[in-house]
Each structure stands twice: as structure tokens, then as C-alpha cells.
């Protein structure tokens, strides 16, 4: 299934590489490039999935959410190997097994999505901005004098958890539990867990659901300015509310979906500030230039996409990128690869704030499943960038870039630790 002449390195990558290989997974760009050029819908034998690497093929998939199912792609992965036992534990001890209502296909997805959008109105995002700004500035001020920190563990991760507490209206002292819950839920999709680990994770998820259900009851009786209140009180055009099971699954999804993604984006923000000092200098001079800050956020997301690949399953035989896929084929949409495609983004490895199509990256996906939290995510990253460059400067990596490690998952490319040095400004 290859086109053109193959350089030996490309041939060897296509024959032997896999996204499951930690070395490839940490530095995947040559693999993406070989696929884009020679085998745009590439079978990754070890992963058991087709990797879709070209912008136009991903766009085709996004416009046809019935042929390319999120529901099947996602739920066939969940708790793989232990599905029944996992569901029984949640039913018995976790208040119920609640399938993910947003990980679904139209027309059901359309209704859920509309109800969920009430929690992501421009009003809600605006209302959160001052609170998030305060969380960001408090956290930076608390580390600014130390001169060194781990940008991921000391900053990105705790910041994201605090933001989620603000957004959902959860209690402040929940930090450690939220981190554990997040791991337990994400472990259910596409990661290796043995039975022992599954049992531990299932127990965490029971704990999470009991906590969320109690919060939902509180907000039902006494609504506040937060997303749990928005969701339990949301009504569609016919006056219908979400079912209890749907609401639990959506609140659980919001807790998880915005967590690792945003934390990863903030880690990447520090990585760019530390490795491209000219950009840091430009930002320092431009904190009040909203246009430039917006463009910076988009280019950051394009060049270092937090979510690199998400899954779909075909519901019928279909042609894609010159290949015939059978029904039931499991696909990984390589958003990170599409963002690097030369004929869409000229000189793609250049951090270029003047790109005419800077907003056309696929880091938030596209089509009906396009990230629902994108306005919130953009705002969070912009606020963080602005307040960081205001408060600290001379940011440098405290380890060689080759030593940066990433979390073991195909779905995101997340820096595990990022030791940095810096000075306090002003």
C-alpha cells in the first residue's frame, strides 16, 4: 500500500515501528511523516489499529460520524478483557454503571451535545476567567521565588485540578482524589491494566461516582454558578432534562476530559517558553496584545498538540486514503500528524504566529465531536501564558531535551516531568 520510492529509513519505520513502542511514541514525527508520504492509512500491527495520518482523510472521517463511530471505537475499548466484571462492580458498589453519553453517535449524540453546551456558554467561560486568573497567579507566586520547579508536577497538574474544581464547583481539598480518579477512568481506554489494577481502578471509580452523585443532589436543590448546576438543570427544546445516568456520565466526562489535556497543554507551554526564548521575549512585550496572545495559543496547540490520536470504528466497509477498510476496523486519527502536514501548514516545525490559517489545526478535533471545552481551554492557556511571562523570566530547561519522558499512552503526548530554572520578574 505504498506510493513513490521509499527511503530505507521510511521503509523500516513502516515495517517495524508501532505507536506502542515507547521510543517511537516519545518521538513519533519521522513515523508520522513516513505514513503521510507512503501509507496514509497505515496498519499498526502491534496496536491493532489503522493510523490515519493525513489532514484530508481525517476531515473525511469527521464529516461522517455514522460510518466512523465514536461509540463503537470508545466502548469496545473500555475495560478491555474485564468488561462484565467491571460493569458489575460499578452496579453493585458505585451507584450504577453509567455508559459515557457523550461518547456516542448522532442522532443520540446531537441531543446530548446540545444539552451539554449549556455548560459551555460564552457566559460561563467569561464568568470563570477572573477566578481562573486568581488560581493561576496564586500558584505562580507561590513558586516564583524558588528559581526552579518541575513545570508539570509543581505547576501544570495542580493548576489544572484547581481549575476543574472552580469549573465544576468541587471542593478545594479534592486534589489527590481527583488525580487518582482521573487515572482510574483514563486507564479504562486503551491502556494496559491487569485484573488487579482493574479492580483497584473500579473501586476508585465507585468512590468518584458516589462523590459526584452527592454533589449533583446538592446542586439540584441549590443551583450555583458552576457546570454541575448547569448540567442538572439543563433542558432541551422540548423541556426534557438529561436522565440521571446521562448526567452522572457527563459530569464524570468533564472531570476527566479537561484534566490531562489541559495539564499537557500547560506543560507544553513551559516547554516552548524554555526552548524558544525569542517567543518568550515576544510574549513579555505583548501581554496586552490580545490578538497576538490568541494566535500564540493556537500555534502552541498546533505545534505541540496535547491529544495526538483518538479512536473511531467503521460501521461498514469503506474506502479511505486509497485503502478499503472492512466494517469493524479500529482507527486512530492522528491529529498530531495532520498538524505537521507541509501542504496545509507551510514549514510546519516553525513556530509562526503569522500563519494565515493558524486556527485550522486539528488539536481540538473537528466535526460533531469537536472539543466542547475549546473556548475554556483557550482561555486557560492564554491566562496562564500571560501571567507566567509577567511573573517569571529566563525560563530554561534543567535537563537536556533528550531526557524528557512522556506518559505511556497513545492518546496524548504528555510530558511526565519538566524540570526548569527561571528568575522572578519585576
Amino acid at each position: 500500500m505504498t506510493q513513490g520510492t521509499l527511503a530505507p529509513e521510511a521503509r523500516s519505520l513502516l515495517d517495524t515501528a508501532s505507536m506502542t513502542d515507547p521510543i517511537i511514541s516519545a518521538r513519533p514525527r519521522a513515523y508520522y511523516a513516513a505514513m503521510r508520504r507512503h501509507d496514509p492509512v497505515h496498519w499498526d500491527e502491534k496496536l491493532g489499529m489503522y493510523l490515519v495520518s493525513r489532514y484530508e482523510d481525517i476531515a473525511t472521517i469527521q464529516q461522517d460520524p455514522i460510518t466512523y463511530s465514536v461509540n463503537k471505537g470508545y466502548h469496545s475499548q473500555q475495560a478491555k478483557g474485564f468488561q462484565q466484571e467491571f460493569q458489575q462492580i460499578l452496579e453493585r458498589e458505585g451507584g450504577g454503571y453509567f455508559p459515557d453519553a457523550i461518547m456516542s453517535d448522532p442522532p443520540y449524540h446531537t441531543r446530548i451535545r446540545k444539552l451539554m453546551e449549556k455548560a459551555f456558554s460564552a457566559h460561563r467561560v467569561k464568568a470563570l476567567e477572573p477566578r481562573i486568573t486568581k488560581v493561576v497567579t496564586d500558584l505562580i507566586d507561590s513558586v516564583a521565588d524558588r528559581g526552579e520547579a518541575d513545570a508539570v508536577q509543581d505547576f501544570a497538574v495542580p493548576l489544572t485540578v484547581r481549575i476543574i474544581c472552580e469549573q465544576l464547583g468541587l471542593d478545594w481539598n479534592m486534589k489527590d482524589r481527583i488525580a487518582r480518579w482521573s487515572i482510574a477512568v483514563t486507564a479504562q481506554i486503551g491502556r494496559m491494566q491487569d485484573r488487579e489494577q482493574m479492580l483497584g481502578h473500579a473501586r476508585e471509580i465507585c468512590d468518584l461516582q458516589h462523590y459526584l452523585i452527592a454533589k449533583m443532589r446538592e446542586r439540584e436543590a441549590d443551583p450555583r454558578e458552576d457546570m454541575i448546576s448547569d448540567l442538572v438543570h439543563a433542558r432541551d427544546a422540548e423541556g426534557q432534562a438529561l436522565s440521571f445516568a446521562e448526567a452522572v456520565s457527563l459530569i464524570r466526562a468533564l472531570l476527566i476530559a479537561g484534566n490531562e489535556t489541559t495539564a499537557t497543554a500547560l506543560g507544553n507551554l513551559f516547554y516552548i517558553l524554555a526552548t524558544r526564548p525569542e517567543i518568550a521575549t515576544l510574549l513579555q512585550a505583548s501581554v496586552d496584545d490580545d490578538r497576538l496572545m490568541n494566535r500564540f495559543v493556537e500555534e502552541l496547540l498546533r505545534i505541540e498538540p496535547p491529544v495526538r490520536g483518538l479512536s473511531r470504528m467503521t460501521t461498514r466497509e469503506v474506502e479511505l486514503g486509497g485503502r478499503t477498510l472492512p466494517a469493524g476496523a479500529h482507527l486512530l486519527l492522528m491529529y498530531a500528524s495532520a498538524n505537521d502536514q507541509e501542504d496545509v501548514f507551510a514549514d510546519p516545525r516553525r513556530f509562526d504566529l503569522d500563519r494565515p490559517n493558524i486556527g485550522r489545526h486539528l488539536s481540538f478535533g473537528g466535526g460533531v465531536h469537536r472539543c466542547i471545552g475549546l473556548a475554556l481551554a483557550r482561555m486557560e492557556i492564554k491566562v496562564a501564558a500571560r501571567e507566567i511571562v509577567r511573573r517569571i523570566g529566563d525560563i530554561q530547561l534543567a535537563i537536556p531535551p533528550e531526557e524528557i519522558r512522556y506518559l505511556p499512552t497513545v492518546a496524548t503526548q504528555s510530558i511526565e516531568r519538566l524540570p526548569i530554572r527561571f528568575t522572578r520578574r519585576g
Binding site: 460564552a122 490578538r291 494566535r295 494565515p356 486556527g359 485550522r360 473537528g366 466535526g367 460533531v368
Partner: protein, 105 residues
């Protein structure tokens, strides 16, 4: 009844009409105009409903507000052309006869 002509992504003219409290994007979706994806459902956050307003009509469609302008700036030459997000244009009687070109994306 407000009549609108869309030039779709294939360059084909489509004359349609709508009534009631509609956005230009909703009118396009209701008529299956190619090139208006409207991923975000009109929340001004995806720019997949990008159109170029016929210069003869820009006075009546008006200028984008700040939020729309910021979105436009990431996908078009907003300072130099007549681009707008169709979801941010309300169809009022004064727009009867409007002509827009759906942007290539």
C-alpha cells in the same frame, strides 16, 4: 421571507430563502449548502461557517464584534477582506437579496 444567494464551495450558486429568527448559518444548514460545516453549532468558536460577504452588502451585514473578529483572524485575512462567520449574522428583512461566497477551507 429573506432571500439569500450562496455561492457554494464548488462555485455553484444556490438561491434559498428563510423566515423567522434564523442565522445565516442556520439557513445554510437547512438547505444543505456545501462548505458550511458549522461544527460548534453557532457558538462562534469553530470558524467552519466562514463566508465572504458580497462587497455590495457589507454595509448591511455590518462588522464582526470582538469575539468573532478574533476567530476570523485565525482563518482569514479579516482586515483585508469581507469575511464573516455565518452563525453571527442574523437574517433580518434588510438582508433580503444578500449574496455570500462560502469560503474554501
Amino acid at each position: 421571507m429573506v432571500r439569500v444567494t450562496f455561492v457554494d464551495v464548488h462555485g455553484v450558486e444556490q438561491a434559498v430563502a428563510g423566515e423567522g429568527d434564523l442565522s445565516l448559518m442556520e439557513l445554510a444548514k437547512a438547505n444543505g449548502i456545501d462548505g458550511i460545516a458549522a461544527d460548534c453549532g453557532g457558538a462562534c468558536s469553530c470558524a467552519t461557517c466562514l463566508v465572504h460577504v458580497d462587497p455590495a452588502w457589507v454595509d448591511r451585514t455590518g462588522a464582526p464584534d470582538d469575539i468573532e473578529y478574533a476567530m476570523l483572524d485565525m482563518v482569514s485575512d479579516v482586515a483585508g477582506d469581507t469575511s464573516r462567520l455565518a452563525c453571527q449574522i442574523r437574517l433580518t428583512p434588510t438582508l433580503d437579496g444578500l449574496r455570500v461566497v462560502v469560503a474554501q477551507q
